[in-house]
Symmetry: C2
């Protein structure tokens, strides 16, 4: 483990990526690369090997669905969208996140 500071961020992020994906897809459909871009925009860097299994996991839980769409450049893209079940889960996650922030703030005093 070379980069301690980076590892801190990786560990803190665990379990939050799922939340981030649902948050991103709550606004718009997106395919893997565009999701990675959105995460980069929020300074949450992830690699493909992390994202693809995660998307498949969420799809198997029926929190997401997808459709294929032709691209003007390159192979077709898998556009993911959030399901009703996904929105319900997202609400739970919003609550869990709020509680978590409150917990940390409590410890900061």
């Amino acid at each position: 483990m070379e980069n301690i500071s980076e590892n801190i961020r990786i560990q803190m992020r665990k379990g939050l990526l799922e939340y981030c994906i649902l948050r991103i897809l709550s606004n718009e459909e997106a395919y893997a690369s565009s999701i990675i871009e959105a995460l980069k925009g929020a300074k949450m860097i992830v690699v493909e090997g992390t994202l693809y299994p995660l998307l498949i996991r969420l799809k198997n839980q029926q929190l997401l669905s997808y459709r294929w769409e032709e691209s003007t450049q390159g192979p077709p893209r898998k556009y993911y969208m959030i399901t009703d079940k996904g929105r319900a889960q997202l609400e739970e996650m919003d609550a869990a996140w709020s509680d978590l922030v409150e917990s940390i703030n409590h410890l900061k005093k």
Copy 2:
């Protein structure tokens, strides 16, 4: 996996417990049971099997040190305290946490 909602919280918490321990010990020395109490106060429930290995890990990284202290009731207690190296790490973690909160807020827009 029966309790989905609980699992959400468990997963989100991953990597944050370490931060919480350092935060708690930044104010005062404490032994395992009292740390668990402090976490309960912040609604971050953990069990012994989680906390002890974590404390040992932090001690091996020289972020914490400890001393034995006799108890009036029961066996002696291992009081942990944060080290200078631990305080440096805590600063890193404060920054990582702030960034994380900002990232999530960014995705909420």
